[in-house]
Protein backbone atom coordinates (compact mmCIF):
# COMPACT_ATOMS: atom_id res chain seq x y z
CA UNK A 1 0.00 0.00 0.00
CA UNK A 2 1.34 3.33 -0.95
CA UNK A 3 2.12 5.53 1.98
CA UNK A 4 1.79 8.82 0.23
CA UNK A 5 -0.85 9.33 -2.43
CA UNK A 6 -1.19 12.61 -4.22
CA UNK A 7 -4.70 12.34 -5.60
CA UNK A 8 -5.87 13.45 -9.00
CA UNK A 9 -7.18 16.82 -7.86
CA UNK A 10 -4.24 17.73 -5.65
CA UNK A 11 -1.32 19.98 -6.53
CA UNK A 12 1.82 20.24 -4.45
CA UNK A 13 4.28 23.00 -5.15
CA UNK A 14 7.45 22.50 -3.20
CA UNK A 15 9.60 19.76 -1.84
CA UNK A 16 8.43 16.28 -0.90
CA UNK A 17 10.72 13.90 0.92
CA UNK A 18 9.70 10.51 2.26
CA UNK A 19 11.14 7.16 3.27
CA UNK A 20 8.14 5.29 1.87
CA UNK A 21 6.28 4.81 -1.39
CA UNK A 22 4.74 7.66 -3.32
CA UNK A 23 1.93 7.50 -5.88
CA UNK A 24 1.27 10.65 -7.84
CA UNK A 25 -2.03 10.96 -9.67
CA UNK A 26 -2.20 14.74 -9.38
CA UNK A 27 0.38 17.46 -9.93
CA UNK A 28 3.76 17.96 -8.31
CA UNK A 29 6.06 20.89 -8.99
CA UNK A 30 9.38 21.18 -7.27
CA UNK A 31 11.27 18.21 -5.96
CA UNK A 32 10.24 14.69 -5.08
CA UNK A 33 12.48 12.25 -3.26
CA UNK A 34 11.45 8.89 -1.86
CA UNK A 35 13.44 5.94 -0.60
CA UNK A 36 10.98 3.40 -2.01
CA UNK A 37 8.92 3.13 -5.18
CA UNK A 38 7.58 6.20 -6.93
CA UNK A 39 4.64 5.77 -9.29
CA UNK A 40 3.53 8.55 -11.59
CA UNK A 41 0.13 7.47 -12.81
CA UNK A 42 -1.55 8.13 -16.11
CA UNK A 43 -2.96 11.65 -16.00
CA UNK A 44 -0.47 12.88 -13.44
CA UNK A 45 1.81 15.84 -14.11
CA UNK A 46 5.18 16.05 -12.43
CA UNK A 47 7.50 18.95 -13.05
CA UNK A 48 10.20 18.03 -10.64
CA UNK A 49 13.48 16.29 -10.17
CA UNK A 50 12.62 12.85 -8.88
CA UNK A 51 14.75 10.43 -6.89
CA UNK A 52 13.52 7.10 -5.66
CA UNK A 53 14.26 3.45 -5.11
CA UNK A 54 12.42 2.62 -8.29
CA UNK A 55 10.23 4.65 -10.57
CA UNK A 56 7.26 3.78 -12.76
CA UNK A 57 5.99 6.50 -15.06
CA UNK A 58 2.70 6.35 -16.94
CA UNK A 59 1.98 10.07 -16.83
CA UNK A 60 3.80 13.24 -17.75
CA UNK A 61 7.16 13.98 -16.19
CA UNK A 62 9.47 16.90 -16.79
CA UNK A 63 12.67 16.77 -14.82
CA UNK A 64 15.67 14.66 -14.09
CA UNK A 65 15.19 11.23 -12.63
CA UNK A 66 17.51 9.15 -10.49
CA UNK A 67 16.51 5.72 -9.23
CA UNK A 68 18.55 3.26 -7.20
CA UNK A 69 16.97 0.19 -8.77
CA UNK A 70 15.17 0.85 -11.99
CA UNK A 71 13.05 3.18 -14.08
CA UNK A 72 10.09 1.96 -16.16
CA UNK A 73 8.53 4.30 -18.65
CA UNK A 74 5.19 2.76 -19.53
CA UNK A 75 3.04 3.20 -22.58
CA UNK A 76 1.46 6.63 -22.50
CA UNK A 77 4.27 8.13 -20.46
CA UNK A 78 5.67 11.46 -21.56
CA UNK A 79 9.08 12.16 -20.12
CA UNK A 80 11.40 15.07 -20.76
CA UNK A 81 14.61 14.91 -18.80
CA UNK A 82 17.58 12.77 -18.01
CA UNK A 83 17.17 9.32 -16.54
CA UNK A 84 19.80 7.76 -14.34
CA UNK A 85 19.32 4.18 -13.15
CA UNK A 86 21.01 0.82 -13.50
CA UNK A 87 17.99 -0.64 -15.28
CA UNK A 88 15.74 1.33 -17.58
CA UNK A 89 12.81 0.18 -19.69
CA UNK A 90 10.95 2.31 -22.19
CA UNK A 91 7.74 0.69 -23.32
CA UNK A 92 6.31 0.95 -26.79
CA UNK A 93 4.10 4.03 -26.80
CA UNK A 94 6.14 5.97 -24.27
CA UNK A 95 7.50 9.34 -25.31
CA UNK A 96 10.93 10.21 -24.06
CA UNK A 97 13.34 13.03 -24.66
CA UNK A 98 16.57 13.17 -22.74
CA UNK A 99 19.63 11.19 -21.84
CA UNK A 100 19.81 7.80 -20.25
CA UNK A 101 22.67 6.98 -17.94
CA UNK A 102 22.87 3.34 -16.86
CA UNK A 103 26.42 3.63 -15.52
CA UNK A 104 25.38 3.88 -11.94
Amino acid sequence: MASTVIGAGITIEGEIATDEDVVVAGTVRGKLSAKEAVTIEHGATVEADVTGGSLVVAGSLTGNVTAVERVDLQSGARVIGNVKAARVTIADGAQFKGNVDMDV
Binding site: M1, A2, S3, T4, V5, I6, G7, A8, G9, I10, T11, I12, E13, G14, E15, I16, A17, T18, D19, E20, D21, V22, V23, A25, G26, T27, G30, A37, T39, E41, H42, G43, S54, V56, A58, E69, R70, D72, Q74, S75, T89
Partner: protein, 146 residues
Protein backbone atom coordinates in the same frame (compact mmCIF):
# COMPACT_ATOMS: atom_id res chain seq x y z
CA UNK B 1 -8.06 5.67 -12.48
CA UNK B 2 -6.60 3.19 -14.85
CA UNK B 3 -4.82 0.38 -13.14
CA UNK B 4 -1.19 0.21 -14.08
CA UNK B 5 -0.52 -2.80 -16.23
CA UNK B 6 1.35 -5.29 -14.16
CA UNK B 7 4.58 -6.17 -15.80
CA UNK B 8 6.96 -9.04 -15.48
CA UNK B 9 9.45 -6.96 -13.59
CA UNK B 10 10.56 -7.70 -10.07
CA UNK B 11 9.87 -4.19 -8.82
CA UNK B 12 6.46 -3.68 -10.33
CA UNK B 13 4.30 -4.72 -7.44
CA UNK B 14 0.57 -4.42 -7.58
CA UNK B 15 -0.44 -1.23 -5.89
CA UNK B 16 -3.51 0.53 -4.77
CA UNK B 17 -4.59 2.95 -7.38
CA UNK B 18 -5.97 6.20 -6.20
CA UNK B 19 -9.59 7.00 -6.23
CA UNK B 20 -10.39 10.39 -7.67
CA UNK B 21 -9.66 13.17 -5.26
CA UNK B 22 -8.17 10.89 -2.66
CA UNK B 23 -4.85 11.94 -1.26
CA UNK B 24 -2.68 11.03 1.65
CA UNK B 25 0.63 12.35 2.90
CA UNK B 26 2.24 9.37 4.61
CA UNK B 27 3.73 9.44 8.07
CA UNK B 28 7.36 9.57 6.93
CA UNK B 29 6.74 12.27 4.34
CA UNK B 30 7.94 15.83 4.74
CA UNK B 31 6.62 18.52 2.47
CA UNK B 32 7.85 22.06 2.23
CA UNK B 33 5.60 24.05 -0.01
CA UNK B 34 2.04 24.66 -1.00
CA UNK B 35 -0.64 21.98 -1.28
CA UNK B 36 -3.88 22.79 -3.00
CA UNK B 37 -6.63 21.12 -4.94
CA UNK B 38 -9.99 19.44 -4.97
CA UNK B 39 -10.93 16.42 -2.98
CA UNK B 40 -10.05 15.13 0.42
CA UNK B 41 -6.63 15.02 1.96
CA UNK B 42 -5.25 13.11 4.91
CA UNK B 43 -1.97 14.31 6.37
CA UNK B 44 -0.06 11.81 8.49
CA UNK B 45 3.36 13.34 7.91
CA UNK B 46 4.87 16.78 8.24
CA UNK B 47 3.84 19.73 6.15
CA UNK B 48 5.42 23.16 6.22
CA UNK B 49 3.37 25.42 3.98
CA UNK B 50 -0.13 26.42 3.15
CA UNK B 51 -2.82 23.81 2.57
CA UNK B 52 -5.95 24.62 0.60
CA UNK B 53 -8.37 21.84 -0.34
CA UNK B 54 -11.98 21.94 -1.42
CA UNK B 55 -12.81 18.70 0.34
CA UNK B 56 -12.22 17.47 3.84
CA UNK B 57 -8.85 17.67 5.52
CA UNK B 58 -7.71 15.32 8.23
CA UNK B 59 -4.56 15.97 10.21
CA UNK B 60 -3.94 12.59 11.76
CA UNK B 61 -2.35 11.75 15.06
CA UNK B 62 1.39 12.14 14.82
CA UNK B 63 1.15 14.60 11.94
CA UNK B 64 2.34 18.17 12.13
CA UNK B 65 1.32 21.06 9.94
CA UNK B 66 2.69 24.54 10.15
CA UNK B 67 1.23 27.05 7.75
CA UNK B 68 0.00 30.57 7.43
CA UNK B 69 -3.44 29.46 6.33
CA UNK B 70 -5.20 26.12 6.19
CA UNK B 71 -8.39 26.07 4.15
CA UNK B 72 -10.73 23.11 3.76
CA UNK B 73 -14.33 22.06 4.08
CA UNK B 74 -14.60 19.84 7.13
CA UNK B 75 -11.41 19.71 9.15
CA UNK B 76 -10.46 17.07 11.68
CA UNK B 77 -7.31 17.56 13.69
CA UNK B 78 -5.75 14.89 15.86
CA UNK B 79 -2.16 16.01 15.35
CA UNK B 80 -0.33 19.30 15.61
CA UNK B 81 -1.33 22.39 13.70
CA UNK B 82 0.05 25.88 13.78
CA UNK B 83 -1.63 28.49 11.63
CA UNK B 84 -4.89 30.09 10.77
CA UNK B 85 -7.74 27.74 9.98
CA UNK B 86 -10.49 28.68 7.59
CA UNK B 87 -12.99 25.87 7.22
CA UNK B 88 -16.27 26.09 5.34
CA UNK B 89 -17.54 23.10 7.27
CA UNK B 90 -17.15 21.86 10.82
CA UNK B 91 -13.84 21.77 12.64
CA UNK B 92 -13.10 19.01 15.12
CA UNK B 93 -10.16 19.00 17.48
CA UNK B 94 -9.86 15.40 18.58
CA UNK B 95 -8.19 14.23 21.76
CA UNK B 96 -4.46 14.67 21.44
CA UNK B 97 -4.71 17.57 19.02
CA UNK B 98 -2.45 20.55 19.60
CA UNK B 99 -3.54 23.64 17.75
CA UNK B 100 -2.16 27.16 17.84
CA UNK B 101 -3.90 29.73 15.73
CA UNK B 102 -7.29 31.15 14.96
CA UNK B 103 -10.08 28.81 13.99
CA UNK B 104 -12.99 29.62 11.75
CA UNK B 105 -15.60 27.03 10.83
CA UNK B 106 -19.31 26.45 10.52
CA UNK B 107 -19.05 24.62 13.82
CA UNK B 108 -16.16 23.90 16.12
CA UNK B 109 -15.86 20.93 18.44
CA UNK B 110 -13.02 20.57 20.90
CA UNK B 111 -12.75 17.13 22.39
CA UNK B 112 -11.49 16.36 25.86
CA UNK B 113 -7.73 16.10 25.74
CA UNK B 114 -7.24 18.54 22.88
CA UNK B 115 -5.06 21.58 23.40
CA UNK B 116 -5.98 24.79 21.67
CA UNK B 117 -4.57 28.24 21.83
CA UNK B 118 -6.12 30.95 19.71
CA UNK B 119 -9.38 32.54 18.75
CA UNK B 120 -12.57 30.75 17.72
CA UNK B 121 -14.84 32.27 15.16
CA UNK B 122 -17.96 30.51 14.10
CA UNK B 123 -21.44 31.41 13.03
CA UNK B 124 -24.27 29.78 14.89
CA UNK B 125 -27.87 30.32 15.87
CA UNK B 126 -28.28 31.36 19.46
CA UNK B 127 -31.15 29.56 21.18
CA UNK B 128 -34.20 31.80 21.65
CA UNK B 129 -33.83 31.96 25.41
CA UNK B 130 -30.50 33.68 24.88
CA UNK B 131 -32.18 36.25 22.71
CA UNK B 132 -30.92 34.95 19.44
CA UNK B 133 -33.59 35.28 16.81
CA UNK B 134 -31.50 34.92 13.74
CA UNK B 135 -27.99 34.04 12.75
CA UNK B 136 -25.56 35.76 14.96
CA UNK B 137 -21.90 35.75 14.66
CA UNK B 138 -20.53 34.33 17.80
CA UNK B 139 -17.03 35.13 18.71
CA UNK B 140 -15.46 33.33 21.54
CA UNK B 141 -12.04 33.92 22.83
CA UNK B 142 -10.41 30.80 23.99
CA UNK B 143 -6.89 30.52 25.13
CA UNK B 144 -4.80 28.11 27.04
CA UNK B 145 -5.44 24.43 27.11
CA UNK B 146 -8.25 22.07 27.70
Amino acid sequence: MPVLASRATPMAQPRTTTRDGEARIGSSARIRGRIHGEGNLVIEGHVHGDVTVRGDLTIAEGASVSSQVVEAHALTIAGELEGEVNASGPVTLAAGARVRGNLRGSAVAIDEGARFSGRLECEFDLPPELGGASRTEGRARAAGRR
